[in-house]
Symmetry: C3
Amino acid sequence: MKFSQEDFEKAREQLKLLKTDPGNQVKLNIYALFKQATEGPCKAPKPGMLDFVKKAKWDAWQSLGNLPQDSARQKYIELVSSLVAAESSQVEATPPGSKAAYETLEVSTKDNITKIVLNRPKVKNAISTKMYDEIVEALEEAAKDDSVITVFTGNGDYYCSGNDLNNFTNLPANGLEEMAKNSADMLKDFVDHFIDFPKPLIAVVNGPAVGIAVTLLGLFDVVYATDRATFHTPFSKLGQSPEGCSSYTFPKIMGVSKATEMLLFNKKLTAAEACSQGLVTEVFPDQVFQKEVWARLKAYGSLPKNSLALSKQLMRSMEKEKLHEVNSQECECLKGRWLSDECMNAIMSFFQKSKL
Amino acid sequence: MKFSQEDFEKAREQLKLLKTDPGNQVKLNIYALFKQATEGPCKAPKPGMLDFVKKAKWDAWQSLGNLPQDSARQKYIELVSSLVAAESSQVEATPPGSKAAYETLEVSTKDNITKIVLNRPKVKNAISTKMYDEIVEALEEAAKDDSVITVFTGNGDYYCSGNDLNNFTNLPANGLEEMAKNSADMLKDFVDHFIDFPKPLIAVVNGPAVGIAVTLLGLFDVVYATDRATFHTPFSKLGQSPEGCSSYTFPKIMGVSKATEMLLFNKKLTAAEACSQGLVTEVFPDQVFQKEVWARLKAYGSLPKNSLALSKQLMRSMEKEKLHEVNSQECECLKGRWLSDECMNAIMSFFQKSKL
Amino acid sequence: MKFSQEDFEKAREQLKLLKTDPGNQVKLNIYALFKQATEGPCKAPKPGMLDFVKKAKWDAWQSLGNLPQDSARQKYIELVSSLVAAESSQVEATPPGSKAAYETLEVSTKDNITKIVLNRPKVKNAISTKMYDEIVEALEEAAKDDSVITVFTGNGDYYCSGNDLNNFTNLPANGLEEMAKNSADMLKDFVDHFIDFPKPLIAVVNGPAVGIAVTLLGLFDVVYATDRATFHTPFSKLGQSPEGCSSYTFPKIMGVSKATEMLLFNKKLTAAEACSQGLVTEVFPDQVFQKEVWARLKAYGSLPKNSLALSKQLMRSMEKEKLHEVNSQECECLKGRWLSDECMNAIMSFFQKSKL
């Protein structure tokens, strides 16, 4: 006999400290070994078919046959040790909350929630080329980590002021044509990552949102907003056209006519209007916004991870192909827009005004 | 001459008592024979093209040419007799309101409305395996009967508390795998019957609705609810995933974000919330609910039957294929869920709590 | 030297009077020629990559190389003259606001807005066969003209009372079958023109709307209504079925259940109800309706034309194929309805009542 009764008692205690549920099959196994170790082979009468739980336990115990009690005890201790070892190695591999270092984002994980914070408050969290790249990277990381849900929010007064127009001034060697092509490729890849994200994706809109920060909301699963938030997509004023799949998601969410007022005629919505049109799930007074929303998110983070992910994927799968097609068409249309007089005039006029 | 003038007068009286409209062609024929029998061949001037009704009547009379008045009278009497005979044989074949006997439902037809009542009030109308089968049978019967619309409602305080979890405890010989497969097959066939139902289908939600009783509402054409009703789909708490095509119909009805709160995050809606989100057509105060709803339904039942059925089928045809595909995917996903640890833990926990 | 300094100064003045923006490429060219003419070859330091506007201007000037100042001045004068000439010839070709003469419509263009007024106020703007044809013609004209948006409205108290039932009384030689076929063909072509219209299409609903005037609203991009407006589609009462793609657009806009109440069960909506169901974008008090709506439309008309047209086409392209398919199915269904007893009875009854 390699293990003492003391080791057996210690294993029982360690079992209670495990943080990760080892799954039903393992738990039934532990139960059976414990019974076999302490009472010997199963002699209990077979439970009725209707008693689902008792029957499963009885089957597990019964399956050990005439395994000696000492062997059962030894296997019990070994099984618990392996579970404890697996858990501590996991903890070492990924220290809680740590993420790769980002320049334009703050990313952390806590309470089964991965939180991605847009972090350029001095420019109202405008999305620079660097930030586009980092968001893609953060989404890829979040898709693979242990979190149950993923949350986007902004640092400071703004949620996000949209595309940083300075992105347009970085003319590559081959001029406008190449810039338009590169930008369209980058945008397509960026939006594709939102379409394909496999877990529930939640926006915590802590202030005004503009342009692509608004259109992308149609690809989120839940959108909570402070009553200070506004929603504005002034595309036509800039000679541009809608992106982020909004030409498809917005008519679906709010009907063609309200979508047209926003996407073509530059109507800016209050948080209450965005909520009544279905773009925002719920609006909270600013004073209690963070507290109430995070209490709710914490509860969501405690729900069964796979059930949530599969349910989200089920809802998304119905239109994933369509969304990728829409994204392609929108990027193609924008590429043409960026080379158009209407757009160039509007952007020149923007920079001329901003220099006054 | 086989028929007397008296027979002719009697036929005129019988005609007034007919309950079934014999159709325009027959009515024009009756009109023409009557005119021919009483006035002889048509000598009236041809009406103008614009006078639709007169022209149709004139054509019918004219088409009898020089048929002798006696022959016209005889044909008139024969035609009316055949209509009267057809009507009385119909009445004998299907005594009014009678239906096959059901164990878990009450089914009857009145005022052109087939009413299917969920009738297990002691268990809040939870849907047992037997009830699934009987609902399928009742839908098949209602599709074929003479009714104009079909109505679902519940007996007692609840509309329906959803799937009876006891269905999970009837383990077949080959265990869980087989149970999961059988349940998924049954569910798919059940939901398919709602997708394919050819007439307007109306839910009269007389109290709280849970789970599949809520998700199926997305496949109804109209949903009237008492203000006592609530709508709750706690799938993820049970480690499960949405069914009844709700992963497609709910985002379509209320937008992705409000659908996600219900289907993933277990939000329970009041009747007013369900109405403002489009899941419920109209809410009524409980005191007047039955009276007002049935007055309205009676009016619907008096509308042209084929016009309603074809209009409903037109609306449904746009997405029927999609709905069947969604149903398959949802059932496949659920089959996997039922064998998962998340689901088994949740159901075991439910039965353990319910034994305390 | 063909041109004097005086000609050069005159060209500078003419340039300021141009009404049409000649496009960025031309403007950069004008800028470069002016600099070359007045300062000689470009000697300015190359601007940084980040200064988008300066860089474009510098490139244009630089590209003229060592072109002599006199030649630059001459080319400048020629370029401006050609722009002035192009503009005045355009003005002659299409006198402002004039349109082909219509019998049932008033059509005009002003402030970049083409306005199509339904103009049979004595019959509440019911759509006669002639009006169907003229609307198709007006849409074809508006699609090609210089306007930015197109607006429909009605003359008098009604927006439009729907299909003129007198259309049914013009029986062609081959009778009902042919009438049904002709009507279905005409309807299909009519609705196709709304599906394919390439610019933002806006309805200004100045009073009650009935039947096809309501269903077509689902194909408009924005719908503004006076609070006097009502929306009524009593198809089933007439034994008919929905058209104008409403069997697809209405469920998409307001959910299946509210669409069913309108399209199957003849529910008449107030303007406020139509707005909360998403069919109407915004409702205005009748006293300020025209003033407020037209101020808004004028602002829309001043936005970049191509940006708006392409954005609208992007939104429409996602479902254009589906809409044409729906239109075909609806017309096919109606063709059957028009030959049915239910429909013939209802129309006969309508005319009989209206003769009392």
